[in-house]
């Protein structure tokens, strides 16, 4: 069940469907400082280890990533499925694979966080009509720094960036300096994010010192919907008017090469979307669909029989199911009936037992 020897994702294949593989604890802080779903993080803390189930959508993604040609324009993959079917976990699985392979990972944990609940909206210094979000930007930069430490010194800037009259970052400086500056100077952090994204876009897939860039966005439908933020005169802010969103949209376009964009749709954090919506066009809207087109939709379904068995045995193995009835056949049938094999519902149910 828990094959800890499989920390090399490269050898994961169809035979390992339904089995769990362990992520070494050292990776948790570097690869996933902000990416995992909160309930899963709690589970990791309780079990003292992180085990991820190998499932069909993630394997499909990984196989595409292996075989894709990186001199062509970027391919975009979209994970969609009903609530709680495991889209974020599949995304994290793919991200882990990418970081193992030595790619630079740009993981945005939830794009919805950037379009709602923002306390401070500063008018942007770079572009008159846009708005900055310093807190979110600096948080993200900090996490980005933790994930990609080793890249920061290797990548050199190709352009000179002027922040204020006295500060500027010269050409040829390492990216790490830019990121540090963004973290410390909170006011211009959104512009720093924009600059970082631009640099990475230009340099990914380049022939000298080229690296592969994986852009992983969770809740990508937040980039094209409406926001709950308001300007000072109480008129609503459109997503394009936010610097972070604007720059991220440029990343998702496929006009650069040398990497992949993996995105998930999420209804859970989305604004003004009905709770039964899970198909791409409903959540992305016309505009979003046209921007993402052409993309490869990857459906994430509920647990199959085998996967459910595996999950159930894993919980038993970890002594998570304490109730004596849950260990019987009848108890298992009850669990199947109550959760309808939905991964998150099953996890919540078992938490009580």
């Amino acid at each position: 069940r828990c094959l800890s020897g499989l920390s090399k994702n490269a050898c994961q294949s169809e035979q390992h469907l339904g089995q769990y593989y362990t992520v070494p604890p050292s990776h948790f802080h570097t690869v996933f400082p902000h990416g995992l779903p909160p309930r899963y993080q709690q589970q990791v803390k309780s079990f003292n280890e992180g085990c991820v189930m190998v499932r069909q959508p993630a394997l499909e993604l990984i196989s595409h990533l292996k075989r894709a040609d990186y001199s062509k324009p970027t391919l975009r993959y979209l994970l969609y499925g009903v609530k709680g079917s495991g889209k974020t976990m599949s995304l994290c699985h793919a991200v882990h694979y990418c970081s193992k392979q030595g790619w630079l990972v740009l993981h945005i944990p939830d794009a919805h966080l950037w379009v709602k609940n923002c306390k401070e909206l500063l008018p942007s210094s770079y572009h008159a009509s846009r708005f900055d979000q310093p807190i979110q930007a600096s948080n993200w930069l900090r996490n980005f720094r933790t994930t990609n430490e080793h890249f920061l010194s290797k990548i050199k800037l190709r352009q000179r960036y002027v922040w204020t009259k006295r500060e500027s970052t010269e050409e040829g400086r390492p990216l790490g300096e830019l990121v540090d500056m963004g973290v410390s100077r909170v006011k211009s952090s959104s512009d720093v994010v924009g600059a970082v994204l631009k640099e990475l876009r230009l340099q990914a897939g380049g022939t000298e010192g080229g690296f592969r860039l994986a852009v992983a966005v969770d809740g990508v439908n937040g980039l094209w919907g409406r926001t709950t933020l308001k300007k000072e005169d109480k008129s609503p802010v459109a997503p394009e008017e936010l610097t972070l969103v604007h720059n991220l949209r440029k990343m998702i376009n496929n006009d650069w090469c040398g990497g992949a964009v993996i995105a998930t749709l999420s209804q859970t954090g989305s604004l003004y979307a009905p709770s039964s919506a899970y198909l791409p066009q409903e959540l992305l809207g016309e505009e979003g669909f046209d921007s993402m087109d052409p993309f490869i939709p990857v459906p994430v379904s509920l647990y199959s029989e085998k996967e459910f068995e595996s999950c159930y045995l894993y919980y038993l193995d970890r002594h998570w199911l304490q109730h004596p009835h849950s260990q019987t056949e009848e108890g298992k049938k009850e669990l199947i009936f109550l959760s309808n094999r939905n991964p998150s519902v099953l996890e919540r149910l078992c938490a009580f037992l």
Binding site: K72, L75, Q281, I296
Partner: protein, 337 residues
């Protein structure tokens, strides 16, 4: 029932003396002097007196006791048309069904039909059983003419008589014969039998709005604004003529039709086409070359055609698992995965 008749006779006797009668009754001693046959009667009368429920000491209600409901005496093979010959409110004593209706109280069931106002309020169709309708039809037959034998299928009717006009006549017995609902005229026709080209058809559909049903391709115009049926019929025909001629005309401002006005999605000149073209060109799928020739060649490829079909299907028909799968396969083939 003997006590009953006895009581009646006493009442008829003692109208003038009723006052004295009552005084006597109140006297327990006197009560004992009456015959035993009456005493039971009196106890029932006494109940009436103290609470004055029936208004006043002289209330003369000759109340018969309610008999058994009619439902008890209904044979199974009865003629229902005699029970409910016309539209009448629900009578719980005449309907032999244990119907329940209403909001249930806590931990209860919906209230029963006896004394149920909800059942009386709603319209019921107890007078419209198939047998009743058959009887109606039989009664109306002498007033009808034969249906032409050549028009035996719906298709033939549509072919020879594409425009169907419907109006209702009302008969009722009352102070006046007239019924204002008789002026309403319904006009129905299929748009396919009109000579319309593409632009005219779209314009016609936009002009009539809700009166057109896309599934059955029927345009239904209902007129009731004039007081007389003939006027309404003329107005409906006028509307039809005007719609037909107007939809053929092309106004100057119609050339400003935007993508948002379009009824269905067309892939040409859409952002989707632009995206895929630029992607393919960058992928240099068609080899070296630029401009129109490359585009034409790309458009002619079967994978691109498949992709176009899947996107059009997604946008026009809405989403479903199968259309998503089709899109997925088309994209994979196109991008050579």
């Amino acid at each position: 029932m003997a006590a009953h008749t006895l009581k009646k006779s006493i009442w008829s006797l003692g109208r003038i003396h009723c006052h004295i009668y009552r005084v006597n009754v109140r006297n327990p001693l006197n009560r004992a002097t009456y015959a035993t046959a009456l005493s039971t009667n009196h106890s029932s009368q006494n109940k009436g007196f103290p609470d004055r429920g029936n208004r006043g000491p002289f209330n003369r209600r000759s109340r018969r006791e309610a008999g058994d409901p009619r439902t008890d005496r209904m044979p199974v093979d009865q003629d229902w048309t005699t029970v409910y010959p016309t539209a009448t409110p629900f009578r719980q004593g005449s309907v032999p069904l244990p119907v329940r209706m209403g909001f249930p109280v806590k931990k209860g069931v919906p209230p029963e039909k006896k004394g149920n106002l909800e059942l009386i309020k709603i319209p019921n169709f107890l007078h419209l059983t198939p047998l009743a309708i058959k009887k109606h039809c039989e009664a109306l037959k002498p007033f009808c003419t034969e249906w032409p034998s050549a028009l035996d299928t719906g298709a033939k009717c549509d072919e020879h008589f594409p425009v169907k006009v419907e109006s209702k006549d009302y008969v009722s017995a009352g102070t006046s014969l007239r019924n204002p609902s008789a002026r309403i005229v319904h006009l129905r026709l299929k748009l396919s039998c009109l000579n319309l080209d593409d632009h005219a058809r779209k314009k016609m559909v936009k002009l009539v709005g809700e009166r057109y049903c896309k599934d059955t391709d029927i345009l239904a115009i209902t007129t009731d604004s004039c007081p007389v049926r003939k006027q309404n019929y003329d107005y409906a025909m006028y509307l039809l003529t005007v719609l037909y001629h107007e939809s053929w005309k092309m106004e100057a401002w119609e050339s400003e039709k935007t993508v948002a006005d379009m009824e269905e999605y067309s892939w040409e000149d859409s952002p989707s086409q632009k995206n895929i073209m630029s992607t393919l060109v960058r992928m240099q799928v068609a080899g070296e070359g630029e401009g129109e020739a490359v585009r034409e060649e790309l458009l002619g490829r079967p994978e691109v055609q498949e992709y176009r079909d899947s996107v059009t299907r997604l946008k026009n028909e809405g989403e479903s698992e199968s259309s998503m799968h089709q899109y997925r396969d088309a994209v994979k083939k196109l991008l050579n995965l």
